[in-house]
Amino acid sequence: MSAVIEGKGGFRTWLNKRLPVDQFVEDQLTGYYAPKNFNIWYFFGSLALLMFVLQIVTGIFVTMHFKPGEATAWNSVQYMVREVPYMWLIQPMHAVGASFFFIVVYLHMARAFMYGSYKAPRELLWVIGMLIYLALMAEAFMGYVLPNGNMSYWGAQVIINLFGTIPGIGPGLVEWIRGDYGIGDATLNRFFSLHVVALPFIIALLIGLHLVALRQVGSNNPDGIEIKEKPGKDGKPLDGIPFHPYYTLKDIVGVGLFLTAFAIVVFFVPTFGGLFMESPNFEPANPVSTPEHIAPVWYFTPYYAILRAVPDQKMGALLMALSVAAFLFVPWLDRAKNKSIRYRGLASKILLGTFFVTFVVLMWLGLKPADGIYVLLARIFTTLYFAFFILLPFVSKADGNGPVPERVTYHAH
């Protein structure tokens, strides 16, 4: 691991004597060996990073024209998209970007579930990833409240009141979060501060840690076998290829496809039929006019469906908190010897498949009004949701121990 820093002279040597640029590139990119059998599911990590950068960049411009506060927020958004050059493009990119960020993050998490990427030695990598997800949810929620549309207002009302169900400190806590007795100027201003300063810093830090942890343990792969255990004569893994140029080039193809999809939505269907931008949010916040039914944006709805499935609000809030927290324990709930779903039995495949379907159905239910058949369905699927975490230790122990291949599956194209 020694990049050449002597002999050549010139600017590059001068620079590297003072700042280890070449060393860094070698450690992180050209000398970092990743398994050669990554499939399409491995695009979403780099795409999540891209979305983070894109949100920061568009966010910088939105912040230039946005005026936080009860009286100014909504008008300033309308003003920027109508009268500031190209903000009609940048502001929707930021709003639609939140949805795309979550699409990418959910697919990234699904990948980890399929190939057991959270299993030893990658437990911390997974836990840090989950912390990013939590911070991202807080960031997205506050960003959604900031423009002070009517759904912003009522959504914030519902979510913040959830903290009121915590025994003892609840009511005081809610007041402390809002900084007022209702969602008002104080709430919007502190959310602005948290949304543009505190949380982006926290997320950036966690992304850094996520990458450091990834470099430490190395990437998992669709076969779930450790490539480091099969080194060649040169000490490099036989099934590994340098991250750069192979995966940088492959990821750029992913970036191209992803940005094409993103551009189609931003330019042609920015509201995505009310899914990415909800129609009540094209009305300013109105404390005396509740939207027909309050639903958070789609990426929160699985948890919202769980909240509403329980008749008792306190229990509902508790279950909702549990449903998010459960992800943190997955590395220890999964007791299979093999990582990848490819080398697990039918029971594991059915269990994981059911969980994926359950998550999507709950997502859909959270967008529906909570009445009639939807309540019953929400209860059934909430049960299935938790059944996954309860059954995982037993199923994985029973049928995740079969033989695995020596080397990764790869067919040269």
């Binding site: 050669k36 309308q78 140029p245 191209g256 330019f267 042609f268 509201t271 899914l275 859909w364």
Partner: protein
């Protein structure tokens, strides 16, 4: 052509979540119709702007839209803008305010008529179309003498009655089981019958409303046409970029066995 293709792609993507989307819109009553407006239809937008200024702007504002923006987007010259759309006292750079003093509005209608800058996005064009076409005579309404199928009990009088006339609604009684099992009779809308005639035929009135709705859809998102025009080039560029990136990737990956 290309815009159509991109719209089609987008529509396909939308279809995949159609179930979810319909969840947000609720049921479809039999009398509801599609507005059938096209925001790219410039003459329709121009007529809509004229309709709005003549019939709506007395009470409703478009507080985020300036006359200058409106007229340049709809290719109306400044002179025409001043003579045909602007009212005495309006300046080109003014936002389109309603002529009604807010205090009077409060007193006359119980609440000030809403600003309509974003109504086509907070509701949707079909909703406005149905709202403006389903006013009917209702003696029970003491304030305005009319009621509305889309927004029952609306505070808005039938401002367009000189054009549409005032139709009457025919109802039928429907018997169904209530929650406790007992038979409940409720009335259900059957059809409209012509009442007092207006100056427009029903078809011409629909066209009038369609143009107005179209105009409101433009105002709710004035950049939409420009956005789609640029979007085509962005998508084409990205597809080309992806193609080149793919070929480069393939070349490098030849070495991986």
């Amino acid at each position: 052509m290309l815009i159509k293709f991109a719209r089609l792609t987008a529509a396909l993507a939308l279809l995949s979540v159609a179930g979810v989307v319909s969840a947000n819109e609720g049921g479809h009553a039999g009398w509801q119709r599609e507005a059938g407006n096209h925001v790219a239809n410039l003459p329709s937008l121009q007529r809509g702007a004229r309709n709005f200024m003549a019939y709506c702007s007395g009470c409703h504002s478009l507080k985020f839209e300036r006359f200058s923006r409106l007229c340049s987007d709809l290719k109306i010259s400044d002179t025409q803008c001043e003579t045909l759309l602007m009212r005495p006292g309006d300046k080109l750079t003014d936002y389109i305010k309603s002529s009604m003093p807010p205090a009077d509005a409060q007193e006359w209608f119980g609440k000030p008529p809403p600003d309509l800058s974003l109504v086509a996005r907070s509701r949707d064009p079909n909703w406005i179309f149905n709202f403006l076409t389903t006013f009917y005579a209702d003696p029970a309404s003491r304030q305005t003498g009319v009621n509305n199928l889309q927004l029952p009990g609306t505070a808005m009088p039938h401002v367009l009655s000189s054009l549409q006339g005032v139709q009457t609604a025919v109802w039928r009684n429907v018997e169904h089981k209530g929650e406790d099992g007992a038979a409940v009779v409720s009335r259900e809308f059957e059809k409209f019958e012509p009442g007092v005639a207006g100056s427009l035929t029903p078809e011409n009135y629909d066209d009038f409303v369609r143009d107005t709705v179209n105009f409101l859809q433009y105002v709710s998102d004035p950049t939409q046409l420009e956005r789609e025009g640029l979007g085509i080039w962005v998508v084409l560029f990205l597809l080309m970029f992806t193609g080149i990136a793919y070929m480069l990737k393939k070349e490098y990956w030849k070495d991986v066995r």
